[in-house]
Structure formats: C-alpha cells, structure tokens
Amino acid sequence: MFEIVIISGKGGTGKTTVAASIAVLEKDNSVIADCDVDAANMHLLLKPDRSKKEKYFSGKTAVIHANNCTACGKCAEVCEFDAVLVKDGIYSIDPFFCEGCGYCARVCPDNAIEMLDADSGYLFESVTRIGSPMAHARLHPAADNSGKLVAEVKNRAKRMAAESAKEYIIVDGAPGIGCPVISSLAGASYVILVTEPSTAALHDLKRLVALLQKFKLKAGCLINKAELHPEMVQQIIQYLEKEKIDLLGILPFDQAFPDAIAAAKAVVETNEHMKKLMASIWENTKSKLKAV
C-alpha cells in the first residue's frame, strides 16, 4: 500500500485539482482521503455518498456551572488562554479559546467546572461517484483542528484500502506547514508538492521542503500555472535539482481548470490535453515511488 500525500505550502496552487485527477486516473486501485479538513473541497468534485457518518470529538471544553460557582476567581488566575470571562460577577468559559487543559477544573475549590467532550465535527466513509472509497471529514466552524482529525481520516482511509485491497491512498492535504500538514505526512510513502511560479509560492515551497527534509520524506514536485512567470519555472527546476526533488511535470495556466471545477469534474474528465499531461505526471510519480 502506498500513501501519496499532496501538499503545497501556499493555498490555491491546485492540490485538490491534482488529487482529484489522480483519483480518477487510478479509480480502480485507490482510496481518497481529504485531509484539508477545515476547507475541504474534494467532495465537490467526487460526490461521496457519506454512507457512514460518525461524530468526531476532539479534546475537552470547560463549562462553569453557575449554581456551584462562588466567583473566587481561581480559574481566571490559572487560565493561560484568556478563556475565562467575567461579566457582572458571573464567570463563564469562552469555548473558542478554551484549549481543554482542565487546569481551571482542577483548581476550582467548589467543583463548579466540568470538562465536557468537545463536539468538533463529523467523520465520513463514502463511495464516490467514480466508485472508489473516500474518507473525509467536516470540522465545525471555528473548531479546534489539532491534526488529530487528519490522523482519524487517514486511519479510516488505510483501513478502507486494506479492506478493498487498493494499492494507493491519495491524500489531499492542507495548506501551511503546521499540525494538520505534519499529521497528513505521517506514514507518507511519497509526497507530491504542487507549486506555481510565483514569489510567494516558491517562498512557501522552500519552507515546506525544509519540513520534509526534517522527516526525511521522498518528494516530487509539479509546477502548475507555468505561464504565470516562465523565468521562475526555470528557477524552480534548478531549486528542485539542488534539493534532490523529482520534477514530476509541468501544467499550463489554463481556463480548463476553473471550467472543470465549475462542471464539478476532475480536469482529466473534461479536457483530453490535461488528461494526457496528468497521466504522464502520475506515471512519473509511480515510477519514482517504486524506485524509493
């Protein structure tokens, strides 16, 4: 089983478009995991049926029971997150800022603080419109995304791949370099970096590559929207050579991509030329993967 993690550093470079295209090209032999859990988009293209849905709880949130509270203020004193609110002498917890550490509940002399499981969203196991299994999630707005939900999505994808004997898990990752990304990288067989020739994207790519090197992960890069800045494409290619990252392919800056999203399809389903390019990128990826 191979886990292919698709990430970018900067948002909007085309992660989901690439992940959906690979999922379509490899539909008989892959499971999809949408790990961009706080701005998930894969479902818009692959229409998962959400046949299995479970609630997801992440950590704890403190609640003050006003009846028992004597307004001693100890909770506010120990809270490092400014989550204890006091209004007209009444104490309460701001759930947006409570990290669930439970320090307040432990120091409360009146047992007025209870730690409740934080309802953070839903986990789904689905079959997509292209027939392949998909694991995904829906984080509640403003909920805590510690990377744990990403790990839960990936665990389900792995189990689904084992049960249905699929060879590939296609992971659509989050932007950035923090916990959701680090969590999506755990157990990766190969990382596909989707970038574009822009000053900002290259800056972000370099930070992401430094992260991958810390974890000694093997990676390849796909340069999207090449016409944005042709000279920079050369600069990126040189950078990739220097860092020993495989160049998997180059995609054009083309209206075919937003058109495919508008049609709720992967671009490989709507455009023959892009299908050829993506197929070659995926073949390159597989050959690099098997050489790892």
């Binding site: 909007g12 701005a39 818009l44 704890k60 120990v78 947006f96 990304v181 810390k214 944005l228 999203i261």
Partner: protein, 293 residues
C-alpha cells in the same frame, strides 16, 4: 495609544490562495499614502506579505513559548503531572518523566500542580517576529520555525505585541491564515471587521460559506471581496445577496495582475481596476470606522 480608537480589520478567506495577501498588501500600501497604518502578517506558517513590500525590517526578535522542564532531583514520581496533562505531553518511563514539547500547549497545569516544583516552565524558541517601518507604513510579521506544529501560540504572541506597543497606528490590518479552525479564530478574534476574500468558483463558494459560518459564530461583522471575477460564475455574488452579506468590492480577473503578483510586485499603482476595488474597500471601511465606538 488610546485603545478605544484602534480599528482592526482582519483579511481572511477559508480557502487558501484566493487573494488575501494581494488585497492586504496592496490595500495597506495604497492607504498608507493618506494615513498611518499597520499591516500584520499573521499567516505565521507561510508569511508572504514581506515579499511584496519595500521595507527594511529591524533585527528579528526571537519568540518563545513556555515548556515544562523536568527536574529529576526534586521529582518524587507522584504521577500528578502525567495525570493532569490533557494533551498526553508528559509520560513516565520507569523513573524518568518525559516531556513531548510538540504536544505541550503551555497550559502550566503540570508545572503549577506539581507539589515539589519539579516541572518549572522554561522558554523554548518557536519563531521570530519582525517589525519594519516606512514613513506612515508599519509592518509586523510573525514567522513560525519550521517543524513547529502549533501556529496559535505564535499568532497570540504577535497580537500581544501589537496590543502592547505604544507607537503603533490606530488603523490595523491583519492578514490572516487560511482555513476555518483555531489559527483563524485566534487571528480574527480582536478584529472589528472581517474582510473575506473569495473567488467565483465552487471551491471559493464552499469555503466562503464555511468562513461566514465561522465569523457568524464569533459575532463578527464582515464583508466579502470577490477576486478573479470572470473566471467562474456569479454563484458567490448570488449567495452573498441571498444571505445578506455585503460584497464590498469585486476585482476583475486580469492576467497582468496575476503576472505582477507572481513576480512579487504590488499592482495598485498600475492597475486601475484593482485601484478602484481598493478605493471601494477604503470607502466601506471608513464608513464603518465612523460609527465604531
């Protein structure tokens, strides 16, 4: 500074890559011709604003978060620390207590509840803060070290710095991280107004809806800017109209704008359509500021 007079605008988005940085940097640079303002880059995982600005930063200030450090001499192996930690960041291995720094939320519970003071909190580097100033334009950037998992402590540190400094303009623009979870919640929490930048695609609409829900749950006042108008359809505009959310400005798709952005250049001086959109945003915000108490 009189805190009551500060006006804080958060530029956020849900989906990444919709144009937060384009709007925040061009808006800040253009507006600073008329008045003093501060731009803060709170996308601490991938801060990009500085790439577009001609500012010379002061030396970087190292930022720390507090992590407990085990003192074996004082420890009686009572196990209170391992029991109180809700993040599994402390474990006992035989006669050793191990702290997993990346899991630690710096809540102080283990340290404060340790009966023998065997877990004093010690500073650990998490990133850097940079400050730059050019005439009426002030800039602060938070930058998380690579390999650090938690963006929130760094975001909070940057906002605390802005709150504390006396020499900072009243008008403040926060360029926020993408998403709808804890980094964004912390980045927008002190904002008086949130500007959500989106694009007219199904992805843009889906993530805008999530971002609007997030801001509503926090009782934030907000308006929308549609970037790259013309690449998709009018579903975002229609949804905003139907949901009672004001579209403050629309930036038409223009390949010259995309090329300039790719090269790391600001475009408000050369692109009249962008300038018009930014003027609309400034007029909208100025109106909001008049009624702000």
């Amino acid at each position: 500074m009189d805190k009551n007079r500060t006006y804080r605008i958060a530029v956020a988005s849900g989906k990444g890559g919709t144009g937060k940085t384009l709007v925040a940097t061009n808006l800040a640079d253009m507006w600073s011709v008329d008045r003093e303002l501060l731009l803060v880059d709170l996308d601490v995982e991938e801060p990009n604003d500085a790439l577009f600005l001609s500012v010379v930063p002061e030396p970087a200030q190292t930022q720390f978060k507090m992590i407990p450090e085990w003192n074996s001499d004082r420890c009686t192996l009572c196990d209170i620390c391992t029991e109180v930690c809700n993040f599994n960041a402390i474990a006992r291995m035989g006669e050793y207590i191990i702290v997993f720094e990346e899991l630690c939320h710096s809540c102080y519970a283990c340290s404060g509840l340790c009966p023998t003071d065997a877990l004093p909190m010690k500073p650990r580097r998490m990133g850097e803060l940079q400050i730059a100033k050019r005439e009426q334009f002030y800039f602060i950037e938070g930058r998380l070290d690579i390999g650090q998992e938690q963006a929130v402590p760094m975001i909070r540190k940057v906002i605390q710095t802005v709150d504390k400094r006396q020499d900072i303009p009243d008008l403040q623009l926060f360029d926020c991280p993408p998403g709808t979870s804890c980094p964004v919640v912390n980045a927008v929490h002190t904002a008086d107004l949130v500007i959500l930048v989106t694009e007219p695609t199904a992805f843009g609409l889906n993530d805008l809806q999530l971002a609007v829900e997030t801001m509503r749950s926090m009782n934030k006042e907000m308006g929308v800017v549609i970037n790259r108008d013309g690449i998709g359809d009018d579903a975002v505009q229609r949804w905003c109209d139907a949901s009672g959310i004001e579209v403050i400005a629309t930036i038409p798709y223009d390949s010259q704008l995309a090329y300039a952005y790719a090269k790391g250049k600001l475009s408000w001086k050369t692109n009249s359509r962008l300038r018009e959109a930014l003027e609309e945003i400034i007029a909208y915000v100025s109106e909001k500021m008049k009624t702000h108490v």
